[in-house]
Amino acid sequence: MEMLLSGNEALARGVFEYGGEFASAYPGTPSTEILQTIARYFKDDVYAEWAINEKVALEVAVGASYGGARSVAVMKHVGVNVAADPLMSLTYTGVGAGLILVSADDPSLHSSQNEQDNRYYGKFASIPVLEPSDSQEAKDFVKAAFEISEQFDTPVLLRVTTRISHSKGIVSLGERETVEHGGFERNITKYVMVPAHAAKRHKIVIDRLEALKEYAEKTDLNRIEWNGTDVGIVTGSISYQHVKEAMPEASVLKLGMGYPLPMKKIATFAAGVKNLFVVEELEPFYEEQIRAAGIEVEGKKYFSNWLELNVDRVRDGFIEAGLLDASVKSPNASAEPEDVLPRPPVLCSGCPHRGIMVAMKKLKLYTTGDIGCYTLGALPPLSQIDTCLCMGASIGHAFGITKAGKTEGKVVSLIGDSTFLHSGITSLASAVYNKATTTNIIVDNRITAMTGGQDNPGTSRTLMGEETHAVDLKAICRAVGVEHIREVDPYDLDETITALREETAREAPSVVITNRPCMLFPKKIKDAPYTVVLEKCIACGLCFGVGCPSISASDEKNEKGKPKAEIDPLTCTGCTICAQVCNSNAIVPLEQ
């Protein structure tokens, strides 16, 4: 049977078909749908959970693997940074049952703070890296990864990218196969990484890598597709697809296993072609290793390490190298795109983050931000988020800027509930311990919203849909030593402004928690809409300043030709923030 599946769906299907029993993840674009698919379709066979962060996701998956279950830990590329601590010693202990770490990288930063290339983690940890190039391989490589993991006693990094995760292709489906494994077996020298054991294990890792290099030479994950002898291209992942289309005459060495490299096979391939190229997205990962092995090759000179590749960029590189005629490109390829207004993403109508942004702006506070929908508050017209670095950084940033003592004005931190649980708690404890006086805002919308509405330890529901304990954020703040904790209604601007004014004036650490849920998840919220009374509207533009997608410029103008506002009743949720900033009382409930 065949189905049209995204790379993420196919990967989930692979976990099911190839005997996976345990999956843990923290949501992050472009990886999120993998666990959602498992929980939706395969939960009778595969346990799936949201962990509090990626480090924990990997640790529990390691535990499950030690305990005899084929396991996967799933995260976006920057999540692997969070999980790097267990990863770098996990490579020493090896696994119990097969263990896969899925890293979903995001070339072109479609929804990320950087475009790091996680193939380096494979080299860093001396573990194999598999790189599927379409949905079918996303499924098939799960089988290969489990088998390599068990054969070589190693975790396997299965690395996909946004273009693999979110493209759909035809996948043939199979039945579930299971593999028998016993439970945890005590093996202290293998699993207890104290120096004496770890030193011995490191030698095992070095020998294992040699064995994996031999495997890389023989596996059909790496294959040569002989064609013309003028140009030979070493490629993998999505770049393989672009290469096959852009350079149909070239010979191709397709790497399904991106680390360790099959250097003998590459040398054979190089000897069979006149010009050897590497076409790979992001960093020169293959290229540098191939060149270091003494093989003459070109790559990044023609195919930049910036942003995603595509057929055009591959063609452009070979045209520049003088190996492809420019006429292959459509005459329209060089057409200038029309200058059309941008459509930046915005906080939703009625988003509870809007009120807190408006309040912070009113008080002229600096705001150290974090990772979540509220980062959109950095865009005009709000322009109220001043930093965004990584999960949990906001609290440390506000503390550091304040402690440095050189900044006029107050700095507050702003973090969401899921991000606070992910890695804000430790920052808050550390700040309080070091005598912080900062005010820290937790925008608690009771969901992990940016990635599409996932549950977290604060929502009282598990990924599998069961009721569970909800973490008490206030109790956590109290326990780490914050004495001043206030809950505010972010739809009440006066209350919110007063709370922030009072808390930022205090010479003690404080936490302000907003208490309105997300407008979209778990269910859409819509109250009666508001409207603009045009006779009262003076076109001052204050309501435009809250950046609500339901408010737009109407065709009515004031005497200076400035447009008055109008509100779309179909999308307005009646949050009233615009009505509260209006000085002319021109925004009122719409008479139904």
Binding site: E2, L4, T29, P30, H110, S111, D134, T162, R163, H166, S167, K168, G169, I170, I238, Q241, H242, K244, E245, A246, N310, V311, D312, R315, K329, S330, P331, N332, A333, S334, A335, E336, P337, E338, V340, L341, P342, R343, P344, P345, V346, L347, C348, C373, L376, P380, P381, G452, G541, F544, G547, C548, P549, S550, I551, S552, A553, P563, A565
Partner: protein, 192 residues
């Protein structure tokens, strides 16, 4: 059509249903026994941003992305989005746009304004661009939500896939209980 591959670009704004429309098209190609791929980017684009979906089908499809200027068909659910992507159309390609404007909130800042003379500018690239009054047709059928299916019907005339398979897939993938209505909407678009 290049190398036997048909390239269809469907564009619009987050929330308009671009992804379901492209899903249906890709599935029709698959049940016709063709190789088929589609690609789009989820994530921040869903918060009212620009959405594009690349659909490619034929004997063998490699890259999931349509090369620049090689879209055989562009279907735009919104006028300014049609203008934004019209340069991707291949020589002699088919351009279809719904007569619908979605003015983004950024215009309220006064920094940007919604483009004027959109159809004239589109026709400068695509002289035969077809403007569809899908909303009126949908109202005529008694349900404004049928706009996307009507547009798929209009587009289907430019693509060599069987009507029978279109109807079969629409029946299967339309929201529960709306199969018949959506098939009617498709045929209304196809014969408009």
């Amino acid at each position: 059509m290049k190398n036997g591959i048909t390239n269809v670009l469907i564009v619009g704004v987050g929330g308009q249903g671009v992804l379901l429309a492209s899903e249906i098209l890709t599935e029709v190609a698959r049940v016709m026994g063709l190789d088929a791929k589609k690609s789009e980017v989820h994530g921040m684009s869903q918060r009212g941003g620009v959405v594009t979906s690349h659909v490619r089908f034929g004997k063998k499809v490699y890259s999931p992305l349509i090369p620049s200027g090689e879209a055989d068909v562009i279907l735009a659910f919104e006028l300014a989005e049609g203008l934004r992507w019209v340069h991707e159309l291949t020589e002699g390609g088919t351009f279809i746009v719904n007569d619908h404007r979605l003015v983004p909130p950024i215009t309220a800042t006064g920094l940007f304004s919604y483009p004027e003379d959109v159809m004239d500018r589109i026709r400068a690239h695509a002289p035969d661009a077809k403007l569809v009054e899908a909303t009126d047709i949908a109202k005529g059928l008694g349900n404004p939500r049928l706009v996307n299916t009507i547009l798929l019907g209009v587009m289907s005339r430019a693509i060599d896939l069987s009507e029978e398979k279109w109807l079969e897939v629409i029946e299967r993938m339309a929201p529960k209980g709306t199969g018949e209505l959506n098939k009617k909407a498709f045929l209304a678009g196809r014969s408009s």
